[in-house]
Symmetry: C2
Subunit: 349 residues, 2 copies
Amino acid sequence: MASVRSLGSPASDELDLPQPYLLFLGDTTEPGYAKTAFGLRDWAGDKCVGEFALPSATVTTGLPRLSPREAKAAGAQALVIGVANSGGFIADAWLAALVEALEAGLDIISGMHARLGDLPALRDAAAKSGRQLIDVRRPPARIPIATGLKRGGNRLLTVGTDCALGKKYTALAIARALRKRGIDSDFRATGQTGIMIAGRGIPLDAVVADFAAGAAEMLSPEAADDHWDVIEGQGSLLHPAFAGVSLSLLQGSQADVFVVCHDPSRERLLGDEAFAVPSVEEIIDLTIILGSRTNPAIRLGGVSFNTASLDADEARQLMEQESLRLGVPVADPMRGGSEFERLVDSCVR
Amino acid sequence: MASVRSLGSPASDELDLPQPYLLFLGDTTEPGYAKTAFGLRDWAGDKCVGEFALPSATVTTGLPRLSPREAKAAGAQALVIGVANSGGFIADAWLAALVEALEAGLDIISGMHARLGDLPALRDAAAKSGRQLIDVRRPPARIPIATGLKRGGNRLLTVGTDCALGKKYTALAIARALRKRGIDSDFRATGQTGIMIAGRGIPLDAVVADFAAGAAEMLSPEAADDHWDVIEGQGSLLHPAFAGVSLSLLQGSQADVFVVCHDPSRERLLGDEAFAVPSVEEIIDLTIILGSRTNPAIRLGGVSFNTASLDADEARQLMEQESLRLGVPVADPMRGGSEFERLVDSCVR
């Protein structure tokens, strides 16, 4: 019998996923849609044995290319769907490959909106092979309506000018930097990849809209005065599809400090070319106006640039210039260095 | 056998609810929570035979008080749960009364988040009595992610300084005024009561957060250049629990015109006393900033005051004064009159 697991019960905040993983890339040609695969490679690399993709895919993680059978032989326990198209559905073109993985003895872990068990082909193959179909994008049961009431402890939220440009990486890097400094802190995951990395969290964009701010309150509960929650942001306050999610997360998080994440090379929204990427200043202003409703003391900690498309000198120059202009540290957490340490200083001062 | 119906399939945009109704008031003592009962009385009075409440209730619609058996004898086909507590759940204290209604031969219609069929007591009683349990707060299947792309036709959205202060009434009154003027228009319902009145709509707060703006796009589709959709607003951009819903609705609606709804006698948020009601100006400014992302031409049509707590002279004086101060018509749609006609003029000019 197939067993269908989900993050659906209040007791299952802590995940216990079958590991290590084989990362599935589908037929993806747009690197921005392979966030989950890249995130797992970069932040949970010890849990990934390789990657598996359809012939038409052009995206790669650089990990060894393995068939499901080879991955199983190398110790893999589960195939993770490492890509997310807009809308979060499981493409028909992927089904044969996913069935192949089940038949090779791998469980399947998905962070998509669609439920694995709703697809008859997967349900049948899982039943036949005795494998598990695991959906991590199910919110907990019994999320309360947000109260807006202040909780103890400190909260840092990453916000963005668009989707898929570094909010999760920035939060993970800041949480790691705080731990290195001996500051008691938790990374709080709000998306499927973050949840797979952290082993826990709430998939905020899968929560029913009325409860989204309540879910954000639940995610970073009352804590000691010297504790920091570093919360993974979602979407953008100026994204035409996802602004509501971003606002719920901001108000429910009651962020004391926020860090704006931006990709200076991106001019149009990813997947929605009709819209220009807003400026960092627009997002700063909006975040303060809207965030101060539940935390009047909200302040900007700094700006995180995704400079993957620039060389080291260009990146340094641009960030210095922007730091002078904006009056706060601007750093790329993936490049680290003293400017990133200054950003962290500014956040926790 | 009990039959459990829902608004879950794409084909069920049009409801065909069993009518007339008996309005159930539960044990409600706070009139603000009886929006559904009042809305049906005021806008679909010909479909309501009476009300039914627990002894501890103090709220009344003024309709005849009937037991389920009496209501059935008077022609009622269904009991409508006419109250909504914060969180939208079905209170244990209501169960015996709901079972009594099923046994008396009435179907039950609910707009709560909780599913009627999830409660064993109701499921069993419905099965025994052969009645239907109908949840109208289920969003349609296959809602797309919002694109933000402009659609033909004109859209008016009511927005608010808080919940439960007149956004639905204002939209219904404006839609009725437009029809009287011979302007082709539709009232677009986004909440359970509006859906029960209109017979169709999308329960926006029940949509998964990622799809909420897409649901708003779906709700007011491409239309002729001279057509108006008058869209029922939800929540408030400065409500600590529901701002995300309000923002998704604003951006997905791509409102050409908005009307701010306000209750001048209310100082604290309903059900969240820790928060002051924001000013009308704050909501105007935020609506323009955030709404212009998907419709740069967005403009304020006027302000709708809920003056139920004032006498006619006080109300007129206050609205005149506020109209001068804000530079737009301020009217109470429930009082109507020439000022309300000027508000409608200002919206469609």
